[in-house]
């Protein structure tokens, strides 16, 4: 039994659509760019243009100098949007769990759909043919047990490829690939890893905890991904509804750590309450700071387990904030964002699960907040600092 997470990757969606509409472009170097615009840049390009050294974001004038006779197509956003919409619609007809991961990218969770669509491998082929018939493009498809592995696989077998990985094949296939194919590794990190003689994902996966932290703040997360550890679910929510966010403007601006910690705890309490009302826990906590001098900084912390209690979320937010605060400048505004939600059911235990004291307290607090409103109960620490709880956000941005 193989994985059920399908990644659809329409690499070069714009170029593929243009080529589909004009078969004369096949096997010719061409780019999609706003010809005539001041400092026009290459928006998308054909594989042949890529082979000639043209890259996305390159100045069009430079691309034209590099490839004489390069064909330039004007972008047609409405067509690209329609193709993206069609892909999503086809995906939705096979599973309710379809996540949009950028234009031309979809994650589809085919778990539990076998009785309707057949085994995931067969369902994938049906999706593949339907997308080809309805849009004329041939994206890459990869079926694996996690989003990270399936995404790496579509980056290997492209364009128009397909791969269905069995669990025992995933690790070995991912390890072989160049490190830049791992989601989250950009050119800067790639260069840094290259200095450490890490060229393949396998080299990254072999790093220990200390070495992983030495790479950077996201090191441990990247190493886990390199090992194929990724339990993030396919999230059908549109991106704008995938996070809970709250902000506070500090009056006056302050650089005092204790005040900032209490403010973060306060924001965490309101957001945590909103998440728990929907029976959700959180895996990612992000903190952004706006300094008095107009500069900003942010840090996000991805957690190994689902957090539900206020004290856990506040602790994570404080950790993220400490990593953000690299300057001795007063802070003007604090933002906390919770994302990557999961169902916050009780953890299964072989025997009677032990309900901790803090969990019982949290449950009691939530009952009071739910009955009498959020400001009815305020922690002493907040009162002594002159803070009060505001109403919990209803969700969304």
């Amino acid at each position: 039994m193989g994985g059920t997470i399908l990644h659809v990757n329409a690499v070069g969606l714009m170029a593929a659509i243009e080529e589909n509409l004009d078969r004369g472009l096949r096997a010719r170097p061409f780019v999609v760019a706003r010809e005539g615009a001041v400092r026009a840049v290459v928006i998308d390009l054909s594989p042949e243009a890529h082979r000639e050294g043209v890259r996305r974001g390159m100045l069009l004038s430079l691309a034209l100098r590099r490839v004489p006779g390069l064909v330039v197509k004007q972008p047609r956003p409405e067509l690209y949007r329609a193709a993206d919409e069609t892909m999503w619609r086809v995906g939705m007809s096979f599973s309710p769990l379809v996540e949009r991961a950028g234009r031309g990218h979809l994650f589809i969770d085919l778990a539990g759909t076998s009785r309707i669509n057949g085994p995931p491998e067969d369902a994938t082929q049906k999706i593949r043919v339907r997308i080809m018939d309805e849009t004329g493009i041939t994206p890459s498809f990869a079926l694996a047990s996690s989003k990270t592995v399936s995404k790496v696989a579509t980056r290997v077998f492209r364009p128009g490829g397909f791969v269905a990985l069995l669990p025992h094949e995933e690790g070995s296939l991912v390890r072989l690939q160049p490190v830049e194919l791992l989601p989250g590794v950009g050119p800067v990190l790639r260069d840094r890893l290259s200095l450490l003689d890490i060229e393949d994902i396998g080299g990254l996966a072999d790093l220990g905890g200390f070495e992983a932290r030495a790479i950077g703040p996201r090191g441990p997360d990247l190493v886990a991904r390199a090992r194929g550890i990724d339990d993030s679910p396919v999230n059908p929510e549109p991106p704008e509804r995938r996070c809970l966010r709250d902000a506070i403007v500090l009056e006056p601006d302050t650089a005092e750590a204790e005040t900032l910690r209490l403010q973060l705890a306060r924001l965490s309490a309101t957001l945590g309450f909103a998440a728990r009302r929907e029976n959700l826990g959180v895996r990612k906590v992000a903190v952004s700071l706006d300094y008095s001098d107009g500069r900003s900084a942010s840090f996000s912390l991805r957690l190994a387990r689902l957090l539900t209690r206020d004290d856990e979320i506040a602790a994570a937010a404080w950790t993220a904030a400490q990593r953000t605060m690299g300057r001795r400048v007063r802070v003007r505004r604090l933002v906390v964002e919770l994302s990557e939600f999961g169902a916050a059911g009780p953890e299964l235990d072989l025997f009677e699960p032990v309900v901790s004291k803090s969990a019982r307290l949290q449950s009691a607090l939530d009952k009071v907040h739910g009955k009498y409103g959020f400001p009815a109960l305020t922690p002493c620490a907040f009162l002594s600092a002159g803070l009060a709880l505001s109403s919990a956000p209803g969700g969304g941005g």
């Binding site: 593949r128 004329g136 290997v156 490829g161 397909f162 990985l165 069995l166 070995s172 072989l176």
Partner: protein, 287 residues
């Protein structure tokens, strides 16, 4: 959109060492006369070379040549190196129109499982690909270590096809993939039975000039073959030439499988005439 006129043909391994039977093969992979000739046939390089001048191979017959083991391993010693150079020259001669016969549609080079990714094997592959550049070449790897982005991009840059395989899936065996790295797409079915590679089996294969697959004579069931139809459809949309070959050791299973899959393909194209252009190749070939 399907590529108009993709030339797709179904066939099987086309030789059986059943005595002094001359070229072309008749018993092996040759469907019964009333069912028409196979659309294509894969013959071993040694047999292709050894054909007598008097042997007749109809010009219309499509042919794929499976290269010998000299190509699959670095030459050990002067003698092997000379023989290898002679084989390379012969391949280029065969491919030329001057040979007076229809040139092969594809050359297949199968690397055994022992041929894992390493500096030495990479150099050997690079040399072979350079030596055979210009030929419609497909390479098949039975070790999973070759299935990396670098290798695939390298094959694309050289215009060499990565052979797509339907084979038993074990530890260290390649995953089930579709990827188009050249205008030629070569799909080979080795069966799904439990047979494994071994030196003994390989020696027997070479002796019998049969396929170097992990198994043969496996009769696919309808569901297994039908699962390939959409995959072939997408591949045909991206390729100019598509060859689908079933391995066979001794029996007729390869030919039967090829006939059944070709029939399913035609039936599918009749059911959905919008893709007529893609399947025209197969319809022409099968008629």
């Amino acid at each position: 959109m399907p590529a108009p006129g993709c030339d797709i043909r179904f066939g099987c391994v086309g030789w059986k060492n059943d005595g002094p039977r001359p070229f072309p093969p008749t018993a092996l992979g040759e469907p019964a006369a009333q069912e028409g000739p196979a659309e294509t046939v894969e013959v071993p390089y040694e047999k292709w070379l050894a054909r007598g001048e008097g042997d007749s191979w109809p010009e219309s017959r499509d042919l794929c040549v499976r290269l010998g083991r000299r190509f699959a391993r670095p030459a050990a010693g002067m003698g092997e190196a000379r023989a290898y150079a002679a084989d390379v020259a012969e391949c280029h001669r065969l491919a030329g129109a001057a040979a007076g016969r229809a040139s092969p549609a594809a050359y297949l080079l199968e690397f055994p499982p022992a041929f894992a990714y390493s500096l030495e094997t990479r150099r050997h592959l690079d040399r072979v690909l350079k030596d055979l550049s210009g030929l419609p070449l497909a390479v098949a790897f039975f070790d999973a270590s070759w299935y990396s982005s670098r290798v695939i991009e390298g094959l694309k840059a050289r215009g060499v096809c990565l052979c797509l395989m339907d084979a038993p899936r074990r530890l260290f065996s390649p995953p089930s993939i579709d990827v188009v790295t050249a205008p030629l797409v070569y799909v080979k079915f080795y069966g799904r039975a439990g047979a494994t590679f071994s030196e003994e089996a390989e020696a027997r294969d070479v002796e019998e000039n049969n396929t170097l697959g992990p198994s043969g004579d496996y009769e696919y069931d309808d569901a297994e073959l039908m699962a390939w139809l959409p995959r072939l459809e997408v591949l045909a949309a991206q390729a100019e030439t598509l060859r689908v070959i079933f391995a066979a050791r001794r029996g007729e299973a390869g030919a039967k499988n090829a006939r059944r899959l070709a029939g399913m393909w035609r039936e599918r194209s009749l059911r959905s005439p919008k893709d007529e252009a893609t399947r025209s190749g197969s319809l022409r070939a099968g008629s």
